[in-house]
Symmetry: C2
Subunit: 411 residues, 2 copies
């Protein structure tokens, strides 16, 4: 595919050229930065005009941006985000909908919509996004990219708008696994030979295929992902095992994906209210209809119950972290359905897209696990991703194994 023009792509809020500060493992690579992350000298707009108007320009770049510049990468601009990171669709009321070049009639996914679009359109080799509840993984799924949500805390969030701090991560979107690996090494500070690097091949742990997660997806999604799972099984044999969330956690309450979703939502709402409500009360920002509805949902939560949600989270995350060994992987669909069609009034969208999608994405958030979505299939051209989750801190192993498995499972 020819790179789309910057205008046609609609991914950028600002285009500029910020050269690297040193040479390194990312020499020659161009990257874009979600406009939720500081770049020195630019205002971080967070996808909302009131935010842009009520915050001063960044004096320094976020730590994650400094790491990339010092490793040789070249920054080409800042990209559209859904308002204050608050959507999985990528249709910003004020800044428009970045192009999903693989499926132009469908949404790119959000909130890292512009970062995904810029990479998918060939205007950057990789891009920084943020992922609180799926905001890197879903755009990766929709646009046919590699998308990495790191272990919570593994990549610095200094200079990144806080949304729900115990869930917030800085992740990466890339067109291929080699670039993603190199970038992940820099951001996790593992880009020195002195640091142990994963080399196992085939995996010495188990790959648990979560059949209950596949059941949550549309039949069409299951059908196009099945050949990839079959290839895994043919190649690796007994290492690949069918299981379920409840079985892996050895706890019946963990079998209920709604409980994971509910836990995620209550923590996210309470923390986002802490991060944003004083600014909302002071500036009375103009919001798009979907964002307004999101803040209404937050305000309607009972904050005195946040401790209950925190206890559920502790229980679930302990169970899953104990179950997933350092060389184990979980395998599941990234999203339950193909990317939704663009519509004029996305906030009116009926149905259960959010509920179903967050059911799948909330597991990594609740348990602080890393997750990689890899592009393996499509439905009438619209990309469908397969996800692997790993043990906390095993991000590089996860990406390396996902790369090997992805290469083999390509239909």
């Amino acid at each position: 595919m020819e790179p789309a023009s910057i205008e046609k792509c609609g991914a950028f809020v600002e285009v500029f050229s910020l050269p690297p500060t040193r040479n390194g493992s990312l020499d020659g690579l161009r990257f874009a930065v979600k406009d939720l992350i500081d770049v020195a000298g630019h205002r971080t707009g967070c996808g909302n005009p009131t935010w842009l108007a009520t915050h001063p320009p960044a004096v320094v770049s976020a730590v994650c941006v400094e790491q990339l510049l010092a490793a040789g990468a070249h920054c080409v601009g800042k990209t559209v985000t859904d308002e204050v990171a608050f959507s999985l669709l990528g249709q910003n009321h004020f800044y428009g909908t970045p192009l999903n070049p693989a499926a132009p009639d469908r949404v790119p996914g959000g909130s890292s919509s512009g970062s995904a679009s810029a990479v998918a359109c060939g205007l950057a080799d990789f891009a920084l996004g943020t992922d609180t509840g799926g905001s890197v993984r879903i755009p990766a799924n929709n646009c046919g990219l590699w998308g990495w949500r790191p272990t919570h805390g593994a990549v610095s969030v200094a200079g990144v708008m806080p949304f729900a701090p115990s869930l917030d991560t800085v992740g990466v979107l890339a067109a291929d696994c080699d670039v993603l690996q190199r970038v992940a090494r820099v951001l996790t500070a593992m880009n020195l030979p002195s640091i142990d690097t994963p080399t196992s091949d085939p995996p010495s742990g188990a790959i648990y295929v979560l059949t209950d997660a596949f059941s949550l997806a549309d039949a069409a999604v299951r059908d196009v992902l099945q050949p990839s799972v079959d290839v895994l099984r043919d190649l690796l044999g007994d290492v690949v095992r069918e299981s379920s969330l409840g079985e892996i956690c050895s706890a019946p309450e963990a079998a209920d994906w709604n409980a994971w979703l509910d836990t995620y939502r209550r923590i996210q709402a309470a923390e986002a209210e802490s991060s944003l409500s004083a600014w909302v009360a002071e500036t009375r920002p103009e919001f798009g209809p979907a964002t307004r509805a999101g803040f209404e949902f937050i305000r309607n939560q009972d904050r005195t119950r946040v401790g209950d949600a925190a206890r559920h989270r502790k229980r679930f995350s302990r169970l899953l972290q104990l179950a997933v060994g350092p060389r184990d992987l979980l395998c599941m669909p990234t999203a339950p359905t193909v990317a939704p069609l663009k519509v004029a009034r996305p906030f009116d969208r009926g149905g259960d897209y959010y509920h179903r999608t967050l059911s799948l994405t909330s597991v990594a958030g609740v348990a602080r696990l890393p997750q990689v979505s890899i592009p393996v299939a499509d439905i009438d051209g619209a990309p469908i991703g397969l996800s692997f989750l790993g043990a906390p801190g095993e991000d590089l192993y996860l990406i390396q194994m996902a790369g090997q498995l992805g290469a083999r499972s390509k239909p």
Copy 2:
């Protein structure tokens, strides 16, 4: 000791009565909140008048405050902090120096100075502080309190001023271990019977006494802590082992405490610059002389080198996390010296107090380990604390064991 009057104590920036929202395990306990943490309806001042004037009142309380209120605790006010959390002394240029009732001529320690003072003066049963580089542990040491820095990420920081996010924690100061345990259970969301609780007694792991850490302390500090270490050894025998940081990590570079300090300082400076420099540039705040010097230090760092510091951190934290098993503890002095005398111009203080103190405190920050300081001794009435560090996530085990060991090692 009689409770000091609120005026004489000087710990509070605001006194109020915020009743609990529910009953629970903290029924009847009063707590104070460091003025870096949101309480609904109050402006969070962060120890600086320009910050106070340029930020709107909090609409909701921080998640950690909500957890305490819902567990039955009663909030009695907000406490003095060093400016934007940027000191270990507790002498705020604008809001004064909260009383250290055990040693009134000495500093209470910072930056959670008011929180320590309020508890030590009997005006609260416990208090929330924040600890990035020692800001709970050092005031606990100076005022003769129990002080807990949690595992990084174990307690929500939503609604807390971000300073250096990969190092920031919300911790607790308390007059006794029972209260600290109960509060830690609530904040780590482990206050349900369904969640496994630690019960081992005596410890099934090892207690490594870090002789090199003791060597960094004054002879007088070593002398008054020695009886507590001897009691541990008499009681527990071979479980207590003399070791050193380099030996535990099996790596010569980890034996250099200056390397840990330097790594801490460079990460902290880069992240704090990301968190605060845009606000500084926009509002040109009035700072006390010590804070001004701190920001000058930050500005003079080479940001393009932050990736190098991140790699050192990754290496050190991996080594130490691998070495400290779930039931192991490290033992060392909390601070290298008795609390400094109050002086009129603390920013002119000569000597190496900061360097020596941060050398000890930076280990927990760099490696994200939990640490508890317990009051076991004094020098001419000025309290001296002994510290235990545990494995990541083992906060409750750490506090429980520290409580048992503290009770036994009381001279």
